[in-house]
Symmetry: C2
Subunit: 324 residues, 2 copies
């Protein structure tokens, strides 16, 4: 990244990356930076795997598997087939093409390079115009207290298909982790126009980011509007375990819970047209617009709507933000 | 390996593995152990690569690419294609299936497991009846002093296609390396019937094995016959840079040079029918038999001939061996 970004997005994997791509497509090259969850990162077969970073990388590079939302388009599975043949741990889907970034990342980490630097290099090699920023270069692990014991994220998400009932979510290491080194400069930059929290899972994808020491505070203090797009549409999540998790945590499945979750952080909420009834009850300025992203046009439209909404908030008197 | 091997083969990659497979096929399961060169081992993309061990593993498991002699049958190259696309170091051919053993080995080594233990586990997983023994668990690197500077083996062999002129061969680390932990027991075992040095490159494949501290001496002292199959047929090498290397080192390209190279170590030499003229001049008991292995039948025939020859040497009075 040679120029300072004008928009900072915060994203997890699949759902968040959809909007992040919309933002990349409607903004001039270099105007977007994305702070990405690394709480799902883990070691598998000794390889350093960063599912959300790679989903954003592939999505931005135009090489993602559009159907699955993760992994590569035109992927092949010969490595995995071979791993299965020798009774290796084949529950995590490692594609032949996908393996390149895991091997490259593992090798560079072993030589002492930071994840931030590695992702910048991968972004350049994949021709990505936006900055992909790991939330931290330190190890943070999203751990789930479940009725099946404490599970690492991928154990819960992939191996156990989100079946165990979650009692609590913890972000091990977050309290002592240092946020991405570019973040402070970015939040203080006069170039920055807004922060967009993508429609990712608030607990499993955005939660780890906000748990990084000082990060939530830095965001709350930043002078530009922070808007969040609700991942809940008409009481449903588009994908993933968001609704199941909200129920297990005893949270009402509605946009109101989203504003409560982000209380003190956000200046505006974007909800789907289906949730118009909630719009007057969210407690923050709320934009009602279609948020379901099925096509590239949907993504671009939501990106434009979110940016326009943020611009309108910047022009209006700001609500006070309180840091909880 | 649950039973003690009766035959110990010493082998490098492609050429040696051909005879080793012949030995495996004519011997009862478990009767063969192969001590394999690891001087070519190197790190590539952070992965621990052991070309000769894997060639033996794949050959013994019946999954080797019979045409190439290295790598897997039915291999695909999507990882490599992707690596090339992001300008990664694609000069070393890593196939999608082949990657499994590199990833597995790297991961286990990082956890502190020995190469010997890892190869034993891989051998079991691939259903291999013979013991595949790395020459050492320590790091030994075959280094080539060439007119293009000092080159690591794979740099010379793969990247530069054996083109630089070799002045000397060194085995860095060999003098302080410890031989495979099973070797002492194997050489002292009353079950052991003979040692067969496969028709591998004497300098680049067998040289590193014999350079391990104490190994050459242990072999010279072992009570059973040691026979070597000449890798030279009618002044030509079947494959690889053997002849070019012998010329560059100023060595006569003939079976006589092979006995001189192994002086003090071997009790018998096997040469090809084409080299019958040399048979009386090698200085050791010499068996003349077809040694070119094009088919499985060829491999089995040569294996039987070598074993029979060794048995005849065991029955006859032994020549004194001197350790140079």
């Amino acid at each position: 990244m040679t120029k300072t970004a004008k928009v900072l997005a915060i994203s997890g994997g699949i759902g968040g990356a959809k909007l992040a791509l919309g933002l990349q497509r409607v903004l001039p090259p270099g105007d977007l930076a994305v702070l990405v969850n690394t709480g799902d990162d883990f070691r598998h077969l000794g390889l350093a795997i960063s599912p959300d970073l790679d989903t954003v990388l592939y999505t931005f590079a135009g090489v993602a598997n559009a159907g699955a939302g993760w992994g590569r388009e035109g992927e092949t599975w010969n490595f995995l087939e071979e791993l299965r043949r020798i009774d290796g741990p084949a529950w995590f889907q490692l594609g032949d093409r996908d393996l390149v970034v895991h091997v490259e990342r593992t090798s560079r980490l072993a030589l002492g390079e930071s994840l931030t630097s590695i992702m910048a290099a991968l972004g350049r090699r994949f021709g990505v115009p936006s900055a992909i920023l790991p939330m931290t270069d330190d190890a943070v692990a999203t751990l789930l207290d479940t009725d099946a014991g404490v599970l690492e994220f991928q154990e819960y998400f992939v191996r156990r298909r989100c079946e165990p009932r979650i009692r609590a979510v913890r972000y091990a290491g977050a309290a002592t982790a240092t946020a991405n080194p570019a973040l402070t400069g970015l939040l203080a930059s006069p170039e920055l126009e807004c922060v967009v929290i993508c429609p990712s899972n608030p607990y499993l994808s955005i939660g780890p980011v906000l748990a990084i020491a000082g990060l939530r505070d830095a965001l709350a203090r930043c002078p530009v509007p922070v808007v969040v797009i609700s991942p809940i549409i008409g009481g449903r999540a588009v994908k993933g375990p968001t609704v199941k998790l909200m129920r297990e945590l005893g949270v009402d499945v509605s946009p109101r819970s989203i504003t409560e979750h982000y209380a003190g952080l956000i200046d505006g909420l974007v909800v789907d047209s289906e949730d118009m009834a909630f719009a007057s009850a969210t407690g923050v300025p709320t934009l009602v617009t279609p948020t379901l992203m099925q096509t590239l046009v949907d993504r671009e439209a939501l990106a434009r709507a979110a940016l326009g909404f943020a611009a309108s908030l910047a022009a209006a008197p700001r609500l006070p933000r309180t840091v909880p």
